[in-house]
Symmetry: C2
Subunit: 242 residues, 2 copies
């Protein structure tokens, strides 16, 4: 008899909402405000109905690893027992810490990951200089790159800096799995190629060009103008969203 965790495919929208929920809970955890929090309130904070939150949580498979060959449930198992996060105590709602841990475990957030940054312009510097919050420390920059030697020499930081020509080598050698692109539009595609050649598994791209996703590399394209466009379109359509 094998021992496995239920792996429902976890719908992408649920995955994204749970990611947001994770950092929301991280914040809630510090504010000791309420001991527990209901699905409805979580939903309000995320602009989503409470039942969606509950459903998303249920995709996580609730109570930890499931054993096959366990004794069958009672006659009318219409409803399952509370999830670890909800049942940990005798109160209603979810315990922020427990829920955060459950999500972190299931979604593979949890341990600190290493990332690299490409581009030391204004935006790149802003990214480089952030990271006072504990939340931010879950992603540690272990290398940064720029195409300008000048800029590399002028930038003050503890993080090792390299020329962009070395992206692939350094990424491979340091086993970096995430890349952050903060270069001008014209350079972005080339940078992405180098990052992928080096073996990153995911890219966050802030350049105003779309990095298409290839070969199973996860990509998030973000641009201020793009976001403003979407908002303008929603306003124009008289729909409020996200």
């Amino acid at each position: 008899m094998k021992n496995f965790t239920i792996k429902s495919p976890l719908p992408p929208p649920a995955l994204e909402r749970l990611s947001y929920l994770y950092s929301l809970l991280a914040r809630l955890e510090t504010e000791t405000h309420p001991p527990r929090i209901t699905s409805r309130r979580l939903g309000e904070l995320l602009s989503v109905p409470g039942e969606t939150i509950r459903k998303d949580i249920s995709f996580l498979g609730g109570r930890t690893p499931v054993q096959t060959g366990q004794p069958e449930q009672t006659e009318h198992p219409k409803t399952s027992p509370r999830t670890a996060a909800a049942a940990a105590s005798r109160e209603k709602g979810y315990d922020p810490s427990a829920l955060k841990n459950l999500i972190g475990e299931r979604l593979g957030l949890g341990e600190t990951r290493t990332a690299c940054l490409v581009g030391l312009g204004r935006l790149g510097s802003a990214i480089l200089g952030r990271g006072a919050l504990p939340e931010e420390r879950r992603y540690r920059l272990t290398a940064a790159f720029d195409a300008s030697i000048n800029r590399i020499e002028l930038t003050q930081t503890d993080i090792p800096l390299f020329h962009s020509a070395e992206i692939s080598r350094v990424v491979r050698e340091k086993n970096i799995k995430l890349g952050i692109i903060a270069v001008p539009a014209a350079a972005a595609s080339d940078v992405a190629k180098r990052l992928i050649a080096g073996g990153v598994q995911g890219i966050v791209n802030f350049a105003p060009v779309n990095i298409p996703r290839t070969q199973g590399i996860a990509v998030r394209n973000i641009s201020l103008t793009g976001e403003l466009d979407i908002i303008s379109a929603y306003i124009n359509a008289h729909l409020a969203h996200t």
Copy 2:
């Protein structure tokens, strides 16, 4: 007999893809590369199948304003004539400029909009100092705010700067419709309230807190950590996405 444009509700995912398509086309327009571009290639550039692109475009209602009381179509109008963007010439594929204009018109992108920026820290300064590209100029910053008088005095820019206490007043007086938040997490909610009080219709929030959308205000929440979380979750799930 009235004269109106067909308004299908335009599904949110289509609206967002079309927004991206819009700026993609703006880029394509300058590169005179191919005279026309197929739905399939557009799809590749956006990591979406070609039929989705075509369907999205079809939501726009194709050929311009429709007159009621027009003579009925021929016997078998199974297929409609080409859209303006596709039919403008006798070739296949879409004309980037024509398609861009069609989308711009239907989505209300097109004219320049005014926006304001709150927060003159590293990220805020980066946003303030961008805007060399013509694309970026579609959104003009007409005011910026910070809670530190010191920083207001030190920041060099042509854009009028104000103290954060004045957000509501200035936004109202200048009739600013979009707000960009680049302040620390702790201040973000308060800033959002002021922006909304002043009458903005949409907010792009870069602080690592979720601004819930209220009263029909469109909101986009963006944070580096949040994006990295989503990517990590996708990697963890062995799914590549967006």
